[in-house]
């Protein structure tokens, strides 16, 4: 086999390796969110490597353009799909695994409008305090939104 063919096989093999990592992570991770995290990221990398292999193999401008298009498409759509799914699962209170230390979004989603209220201040260190809400009027001087409906949007 020539050098180009070896490079093709190596790139496609790396891609297949990452796809297998995604499938193993889908089975081994403890809860839904970590499963989705593992699966989405590594399949994006895996399919990029496989398409690199196909671009190396064909080498024509047509095939390379098509491979680049598919890679761009995956980089755009995979995070969107994962985010939509994680958001839906969070609203429906899909449980996290028991060793989860901190849920900074807890109680900050309005259950009827599905909107985030105010601005969630993120804490870098887990276990110090729960996230606190900067109230909406303090943030953008709109006092109509200030009535606190901090009812339990999501019972985590």
């Amino acid at each position: 086999m020539s050098t180009k063919e070896w490079l093709t096989v190596i790139a496609a093999g790396a891609g297949v390796f990452f796809m297998v990592v995604a499938a193993v992570g889908l089975n081994r991770m403890p809860d839904f969110y970590t499963r989705m995290h593992g699966a989405t990221k590594s399949t994006t990398l895996g399919i990029s490597f496989i398409l690199l292999g196909s671009a190396l193999h064909f080498g024509t401008p047509f095939a390379i353009t098509k491979a680049v298009l598919v890679v761009v498409f995956f980089f755009l759509t995979a995070p969107v799909a994962a985010h939509a799914l994680a958001r839906a699962a969070y609203f429906r209170a899909v449980p996290t695994c028991p060793s989860t230390a901190l849920d900074e979004l807890k109680g900050h989603y309005r259950p009827e409008t599905h909107e985030l209220e105010g601005e969630v201040k993120l804490h870098c260190c887990a276990g110090t305090a729960a996230a606190e809400v900067v109230s909406a009027d303090e943030h953008n001087s709109a006092p109509a939104n200030a009535s606190g409906e901090t009812g339990g949007a999501v019972e985590g």
């Binding site: 496609a12 796809m19 839904f32 499963r35 496989i50 095939a63 098509k66 799914l85």
Partner: protein, 87 residues
């Protein structure tokens, strides 16, 4: 070249079997949706490997269509879950 690609296709098929395991035993509906999404991506990757093995560019179009369909299915399922389907 074709032999190596056939071997990689075999590995990818067993990885797809692992995704089927999660699809069957996933405790909640979002787990099953993630498994379905992964199966769609595996189908796209298989189409690309098959196009390399056969030496024909045409099969890359199948990969485009498979990835598009799996993305649309995932977003539609997420919408359906957010509107309050049974978990």
């Amino acid at each position: 070249m074709s032999g190596a690609m056939n071997l990689l296709l075999l590995v990818l098929a067993s990885s797809m079997g692992l995704c089927f395991v999660r699809l069957l035993r996933g405790p909640s509906l979002p787990d099953r949706v993630v498994a379905l999404d992964q199966i769609g991506v595996h189908v796209a990757a298989m189409a690309i490997l098959y196009s390399i093995a056969q030496g024909r560019v045409v099969f890359l179009d199948a990969a485009v269509v498979a990835s598009l369909l799996s993305f649309l299915a995932t977003v539609a399922f997420a919408r359906y879950l957010e509107q309050g389907a049974e978990l």
